[in-house]
């Protein structure tokens, strides 16, 4: 085999997500009444970026064979917090942003501490902490309201050079600053190793616990960036339970669509980003085909089921049936 074929084998999940996105987005744009214009792209980007951040957060945890059901609530909590503190002079706004990001980081760290040192199962832990995060969000914003530095918000949700959506650039920047260093660090590799085979990772002397802790913490940070952007789009904070739950579940869908195996060890956050963008494009397809929005959940569900089934084909090759359960 040639070198590039090995690269393809390693990145299969991410490439699958990329192709899915390109296909879905092409169908979407080519049927859009306005066509492929800067405005259409900007709207799509702004919608997609929110889910992309939350999906990246989820992907990090899923790579270690864990799951984080609190990402949607961290997203909502940081939105509510941002609607209080990301206001005022440029300096105040900057400090506010730092505060929001630290809050996200702290939420993730709490998850990590409980899961790793409390030895509780991620799924239960994050359901509980998610409820707590939402509770705090409700205390912060019992009713929708608050504000945000609108100059900054308009800039970050607008276009630069007349064509490129700024939100997309921020997404790329976050991928480059958070994901790329992580994935190439010893910790990142330990995270993959843990998800792939925790026993083998232990036998190889990998820092399993630190790697897991880091993934939960970074997941909190990324969900926090998502919450920040939600504030920039809506100009308000709202403790919306339905929205938080939807983002949590969609993040799992985006991760699977993005080629990250729920069994851990494979895929990348970049795949999850494309998974999120593809998931949004699928959801919006109905609108360009002028179908009743009532169909959207049904349609999205079917597409998701198909995507997940593609991953299950591997089971057909199993020859010892006991391997189905491991």
């Amino acid at each position: 085999m040639k070198d590039w074929k090995y690269w393809v084998a390693e990145q299969r999940g991410t490439l699958f997500a990329f192709v899915t996105f390109v296909v879905m987005f092409t169908i979407y744009v080519s049927n859009h009444p306005a066509g492929f214009t800067a405005n259409v792209v900007q709207t799509a980007a702004n919608k997609g970026v929110l889910l992309a951040f939350v999906a990246m957060a989820q992907a990090l945890v899923v790579i270690t064979a864990g799951i984080d059901l609190s990402v949607g609530m961290i997203f909502i909590l940081t939105n509510c917090l941002a609607s209080w503190i990301v206001v005022g002079t440029p300096l105040e706004t900057a400090l506010g942003i730092v505060g929001v990001l630290l809050a996200g980081l702290a939420c993730g760290a709490v998850n990590g501490l409980i899961v790793i040192y409390g030895r509780l199962q991620p799924i239960v832990t994050t359901i509980a902490t998610g409820a707590i995060f939402f509770g705090i969000a409700l205390l912060l914003r019992p009713f929708p309201g608050g504000g945000v530095n609108e100059d900054l918000a308009d800039f970050l949700t607008g276009k630069i050079w007349g064509v490129v959506p700024v939100s997309l650039l921020v997404l790329v920047a976050v991928v480059l600053l958070v994901w790329v260093p992580f994935s190439r660090s010893v910790m990142g590799r330990a995270a993959y190793a843990t998800g792939s085979s925790e026993a083998a990772a232990y036998m190889s002397g990998m820092p399993i616990r630190r790697a897991k802790f880091l993934t939960y913490t970074l997941a909190g940070l990324l969900a926090g960036i998502g919450g920040l952007f939600l504030t920039f789009f809506t100009y308000t904070g709202e403790a919306a339970l339905a929205s938080g739950n939807a983002y949590t579940l969609f993040s799992i869908a985006a991760v699977v669509l993005g080629g990250v195996s729920l069994y851990g060890g494979t895929g990348s956050a970049i795949g999850a980003v494309f998974g999120a963008l593809a998931f949004r494009a699928i959801g919006d397809l109905l609108f360009v085909f002028d179908l009743d929005p009532l169909w959207q959940p049904l349609f999205q569900g079917v597409v998701l089921l198909i995507a997940v089934s593609l991953g299950a084909f591997a089971l057909l090759r199993v020859r010892n049936k006991l391997d189905w359960f491991t």
């Binding site: 085999m1 070198d3 090995y6 690269w7 084998a9 390693e10 260093p181 190439r184 660090s185 010893v186 590799r189 993959y192 190793a193 998800g195 792939s196 085979s197 026993a199 083998a200 990772a201 232990y202 036998m203 190889s204 002397g205 990998m206 060890g265 494979t266 199993v318 020859r319 010892n320 049936k321 006991l322």
Partner: protein, 515 residues
């Protein structure tokens, strides 16, 4: 060659697991520039020895010295840092990472805090070349490689850590013949370079070819060390035997010759490369043992019979009629009536948090229910009967199975299947890790069931059990039946010699199965 200070020395090292003494005052001296072979039968303490040396488990007592200085390891990483690296039999590779990622895993080259992938590839290439596996691409994913290639990666990974002592635990068991000769020349070169190698193998001819020194372990202690070539294969087998023989087994009943077809018969069973051309039959009232070293296909054979494996070729006949068994559910049905007592009772045999009653009736729910509704009275009477029959010590049928002792848990696993009144009982090492008293009860139960007409296939890693319980023993080697021993032929000597594939005169004429 004697040096004032050996490279590595271990003195009085002991380790217990629960009530089992895995290692008892073991001593070992390893010199640089030597290949040291370690021999011993299943459970002699070899794996515990290397786990202690490589920092996987900590000893309860004793001391280890490297260059004359006392050392102890808190983790495998600490042992690696000290220069002791182990190539494990159970692979320690991460399946979803590339070969290069795996090779440098404990200490990847870094640039600006990130892993330097170009350098990593160069290191991996060099290590693969040193291990004689330059044909493996450093970027291939480990999960896509066949087992023999993975083993080569494992060796390359160990070499990349620049060890002073390299431990190889059954390193060649998964390798093809051409790989073995490559590995051997690599190992000999490493010896020239001054490394100390510890070579654990069940293959005597490999030890004979490679090792300079040999140490034999038995019952957790080292019984002898000698220079290779000074002892015959036969003498070594004698050293490995010698456990105390206890009279815990019920008398065997001579099999009744009958015209009826055997209860179960296999013809030419094969599955991937782990089972090869297996033919044998079991008559009603017979207890057939599966012998041989651990991992020669015994477990797979039982799983294949029980319908767990896919793509098994060959034929299974039940009372002379060919049948296809596609799942455990089919296997347990009345017309076949098979039961498998699995190896790992905690995951495959019991639902630990559920009650004793639920666990007992799982396999036999069909018998105690009518129209899908469980008949509580019938269930209770069946369960009480089983608890009496097996003398299960439990405070009641409502407590969780996990609260019972290991021996009683194992009895529940057996009882659960007996409730189904099986005709064919497969047992996968049922007495591992349980106390002697319970073992004895299980032996008596097996004989009783056989006398009542069951056909029993019994895999055990304990040779005493095979000798004491079985009418015939099929010794497996490398996925096939290597030898069949019957009646008086079943001796410890014959079992070990045939398990190790040592051909010598003192073993009486043996019949080859399927011939």
């Amino acid at each position: 060659m004697s040096r004032a200070v050996p490279l590595f020395r271990m003195e009085g090292v002991s380790k217990r697991y629960g009530g089992v003494r895995a290692l008892d005052g073991a001593e070992l001296t390893v010199n640089a520039g030597q290949i040291h072979g370690i021999l011993g039968e299943n459970g002699a303490g070899k794996s515990t020895l290397i786990k202690i040396m490589s920092g996987v488990v900590e000893p309860d007592a004793g001391r280890m010295m490297l260059d004359g200085k006392e050392i102890s390891f808190a983790s495998p990483a600490a042992a690696n840092d000290a220069g002791i690296v182990c190539v494990f039999q159970e692979l320690s590779l991460i399946p979803h990472l590339s070969v290069a990622d795996n090779i440098v895993i404990s200490n990847p080259p870094k640039r600006f805090g990130m892993i330097d992938r170009r350098k990593q590839r160069a290191i991996a290439k060099e290590a693969l070349a040193r291990a004689g596996a330059a044909d493996i691409h450093p970027q291939a994913l480990v999960k896509d490689l066949p087992l023999s290639r993975r083993q080569m990666v494992e060796i390359a990974k160990a070499l990349a850590r620049k060890p002073r002592i390299l431990i190889l635990d059954e390193a060649t068991s998964a390798l093809t013949a051409s790989d073995v000769s490559k590995v051997f020349s690599v190992l000999k070169r490493l010896r020239e370079e001054g490394l100390a190698l510890l070579y654990i193998s069940h293959r005597m001819h490999e030890i004979a070819e490679l090792a300079d020194m040999c140490t034999v372990f038995r019952n957790g202690s080292n019984v002898a060390s000698f220079a290779t070539g000074t002892k015959s294969g036969n003498e070594i087998v004698e050293m490995m035997i010698g456990r105390e023989y206890s009279n815990v087994f019920p008398a065997k009943t001579p099999p009744v010759l009958s015209e009826k077809p055997p209860v179960v018969e296999c013809r030419h069973l094969a599955w991937t490369d782990q089972l090869r051309d297996i033919s044998f039959s079991v008559r009603a009232g017979e207890v057939i043992g599966l012998g041989g070293l651990d991992g020669q296909g015994q477990r797979e054979l039982l799983l294949a019979l029980f319908g767990v494996l896919r793509g098994v070729s060959g034929q299974v006949l039940i009372e002379g009629q060919p049948v296809g068994i596609g799942s455990p559910r089919q296997a347990k049905r009345g017309e076949i009536g098979m039961a498998l007592i699995p190896e790992d009772r905690k995951t495959e045999g019991l639902l630990l948090p559920m009650s004793v009653r639920d666990n007992l009736s799982f396999a036999a729910l069909d018998r105690v229910s009518r129209g899908g509704i469980i008949d509580g009275t019938a269930e209770k009477s069946h369960i009480d009967e089983m608890i009496r029959l097996l003398a299960i010590k439990t405070a009641g049928t409502d407590i969780p199975a996990g609260a019972l002792s290991g021996g009683n848990q194992q009895k529940i696993v057996i009882a659960k299947w007996l409730m189904n009144r099986p005709r064919i009982i497969l047992l996968n090492d049922p007495t591992r890790g349980i106390d002697v008293g319970t073992k004895q009860e299980i032996y008596q139960l097996l004989r009783k069931l056989a006398d009542e007409g069951a056909a029993i296939v019994f895999y055990s890693t304990d040779y005493d059990e095979l000798i004491g319980c079985c009418d015939r023993v099929l010794v497996m080697y490398d996925g096939g039946i290597h030898r069949e021993l019957a009646g008086e032929e079943i001796t410890e000597h014959a079992l070990i010699a045939s398990a190790l594939n040592v051909e010598e005169a003192s073993v009486d004429r043996t019949r080859v199965a399927g011939a």
